[in-house]
Amino acid sequence: MQRSIRIPVRVEPLVNVTFRRKIVVFTTTYLLAILGFLLFLYLKGYDGISILSHILFYTFTVGEGIRSLLSTWGIVSIIALGALISFKVRVWNIGLEGQYIAGAIGATYAALFMPCISPLNLTLQLLLGFILGMLWAFVPALLYVLISVNEVLSTIMLNYVAVHLLEYLLYGPWSGTYGFPQTRLFPARFGQVGGLPSPLVAAIILFFIAYVVMYRLRIGLVYRFVGENRNAASLQGYNVKLVLLLCFLISGGLAGVAGVFEASYELGYLSPGIVRGYGFAGIAAAVLGRLEPLTTLFASLFIAFFLVGAYSVHLPALGFLAEGLLLIAHLSAEALTRYKIVIMRGGVY
């Protein structure tokens, strides 16, 4: 033991966390995240304050900005719901990006090659998108449930496969006029519903359903049971693997639905432009929302604000920067509210 290093710090779990501690810790870490964001902009030679105020102005007052914020909110929150559903049972499906692309591909197939009677075609787009999203999650899900293959790796790797499949289709069989990597316009597209973008309407409906299922129905109870304690659930005689498999698939399916809206509502065609990191944005939103439906819906708005804002100043990477910083701040805050760090003097125990 002579050569090993011991750090004289000990981490102790806190039994009772006061409300005051939570408030203090969360506000401080979030403020630090925003300061870090501004510091980064400053180091790159930008005027952070004016960029932030521009983003605020654009997303909340300009018509185009509001419209874009609302539809992005809808799309990100549908993915966040997918993340929430799998994370709550501790299945770390990180491949939502790939499942989202698969969903967009499904929608495109329905739009271009299936009967074009508008309502029917839109239903087909949704259905095919959902199925393709599920299919993209199916192999990792099966491997995970049957032989415990680490789902983080398998899902994340399939993201790249999805991107390449998309490129193959766009440069190959589905390439548009003059060989541009872009399909022709969808004959049938999703539009506004009651003045709101359809992805947002869909998101609100889906969140409502998720809430009712989780907190009102018997299956929801079982679902939360499995999430809280798998061992106990199997001790009570539940088929835990089946629950995990279903959650994994639904999670992928929802990401697929988000892909349908991006292709069919936002763009109206399929192009490499749909790969925008929404899969990861959804994950961030679900974590910031602490895996509860209502809070996740609002966390998605927060994330969407940064994404849209970053596009509006032509610095899309800023959105990811904000996402990452917020995520780190949030996770540290969660840890710091629950644990106390003690500096040790003298002996080791």
Binding site: M1, R218, E228, A232, Q236, G237, G347, Y349
Partner: protein
């Protein structure tokens, strides 16, 4: 008495969660002597060993090495002071070769590779051991793995070697080899602390034996001066010899709710449940006694369907349920209360949700959960059982242990099961809650529920069971009405010592 290599004086240990593991233990270990520490679970044997090995700090009391009081900050200091320990569960790196494991440990205690090899050669020569240096650990049988553990512990040339339940994971044949090795070490002047619950081993390896019970030393005596019957009595009954008292003995003759026929469970090549047969009648409490790790856990898991038996049948209410998954057994009326409350209840959910969950699992709620109905049902039990909770919507983890256990039982009572399989239902509870839980179990049995009760608390089994079975290394070694046992006999059976009947 200055000749002790290691001595402990008046050791007390209270764990942070309030468990009292030791209450004033004083012992001494001499050169060239095997000192057996004998006791049931929870007697404090392992805590004692871990204090001597510097892994746990005593709340009060001293550890003296060659007469000098020492305070170890960790095992590495104990090792330098000449104390080594072999754990009950091996601590080798499975995917390393034997040599790599030894080098790793050598590095840990400051030996170079060359020194490690030299010492291994010396040990091989001295004790006639064969050490397959280049084999991977996970390819070796348990007995050999243990030998590597011992060689590892001997690398530091200790004055005191601690062996914690060394025969629990190895075969009888391998145990013979172990006993021989212990004898040779003793002859070479090593002091040995030999922890066990197996009575039979005491005369085979021991020179001195200390019987521990509930954190106290009952007696320390030379092995030649005591017979096993006395040891058995001391181990389970404490100082006084009292006969089993049961106020009322019920003879239950009803339909057989559960029948287990020639059940065998094989785990990692060992027959952990070995050809076990018994039955439980309607409204009967059948207790299963035994030191933890003799197959009780696997037996109940197989009965509830969590473990697949390798052979045998489980018949529940006249129906063969051997191949059914747990939830189907639950729906047929078989309930399971695991020993860990963390598994019995969902700590982050509230009382109502926990109740609803049980009903949902058993298929007693509709598709839509009616929270008001669940709450009404729960309220009924809360009042009847006197569960103290600020509100029904507080998370279960804020309840005291006793109230949690009452809630866990309430959930089961609400199902009105035909059979309850309960494991250590009063584990870690205070006196009042313990008694309350026992009353509840009795009441359930009176209302016609059969109970299969596995407990490491002998008093509990004697108080509750109508008939009592004793398990030892996977077999039921005895099964008869509870009032037909004596403490001594129970101690003998639990220690696996069948000879010398009658007292």
């Amino acid at each position: 008495m200055g000749e002790y290599v290691v001595e402990v004086r008046n050791l007390h240990k209270i764990y942070p969660d309030g468990t009292v593991a030791l209450r004033g233990v004083s012992l001494g270990f001499r050169r060239g002597e095997v000192h057996v520490v004998l006791g049931e679970n929870g007697a404090g044997k392992t805590t004692l060993a871990r204090i001597v090995y510097g892994e746990v700090r005593p709340s009060r009391g001293q550890v003296l090495v060659e007469g000098v009081p020492r305070v170890f900050r960790g095992p590495w200091e104990a090792i330098r002071a000449g104390i080594s320990m072999v754990y009950q569960h091996f601590s080798l790196v499975h995917r390393f070769t034997v040599a790599e494991n030894l080098f790793l440990y050598g590095h840990h205690i400051g030996l170079s590779r060359r020194e490690v090899l030299e010492r291994v050669e010396k040990l091989e020569a001295e004790y006639g051991l064969k050490i397959p240096l280049n084999r991977r650990v996970d390819e070796l049988p348990a007995g050999l793995q243990q030998r590597i553990e011992i060689v590892k512990a001997l690398l530091s040339e200790p004055k005191l070697l601690i062996l914690d339940e060394p025969t629990s994971l190895i075969s009888p044949l391998e145990a013979e080899a172990l006993f021989k090795l212990v004898k040779r070490l003793k002859e070479d002047g090593v002091a040995i602390m030999y922890i066990t619950h197996r009575l039979k081993e005491v005369p085979v390896v021991g020179d001195v034996v200390t019987v521990m019970r509930r954190g106290e030393v009952v007696k320390t005596i030379r092995v030649g001066e005591v017979d096993l019957n006395t040891l058995a009595r001391l181990m389970v009954g404490g100082r006084e010899i009292e006969e089993v008292k049961r106020p009322t003995q019920r003879v239950v003759v009803g339909e057989r709710v559960l029948e287990v026929e020639r059940l065998t469970v094989v785990r990692e090549g060992r027959r952990v449940v070995d050809n076990v047969s018994f039955w439980v009648s309607r409204g009967e409490i059948l207790g299963i006694a035994g030191v933890v790790g003799n197959g009780q856990e696997e037996l109940v898991e197989a009965i509830f369907g969590l473990l697949k038996p390798s052979s045998g049948r489980i018949v529940f209410c006249g129906r063969d349920v051997t191949g059914l998954p747990p939830w189907e057994r639950l729906r047929l009326g078989m309930a399971f209360l695991p020993s860990e409350r963390r598994l019995a209840l969902i700590q982050d959910m509230n009382l109502v949700e926990n109740m609803a969950l049980m009903l949902a699992v058993a298929g007693r709620t509709g598709l839509l959960v009616s929270w008001s109905r669940v709450e009404k049902l729960l309220r009924e039990y809360v009042d009847r059982l006197g569960i103290v909770a600020r509100s029904l919507t507080m998370p279960v983890k804020r309840l005291s242990g006793g109230n949690q256990q009452k809630l866990a039982l309430a959930r089961i009572m609400a199902l009105k099961p035909r059979l309850l399989v309960a494991v250590d239902p009063t584990h870690g509870l205070d006196y009042a809650s313990t008694m309350a839980v026992r009353r509840m179990l009795r009441q359930m049995a009176d209302n016609g529920t059969s109970i299969l009760l596995v407990s490491s608390d002998l008093d509990e089994l004697l108080q509750l069971s109508d008939r009592l079975a004793v398990m030892y290394s996977g077999k039921i070694v005895s099964l008869k009405p509870t009032n037909k046992y004596t403490y001594e006999e129970l101690g003998r059976l639990m220690g696996g010592y069948e000879g010398g009947m009658a007292s």
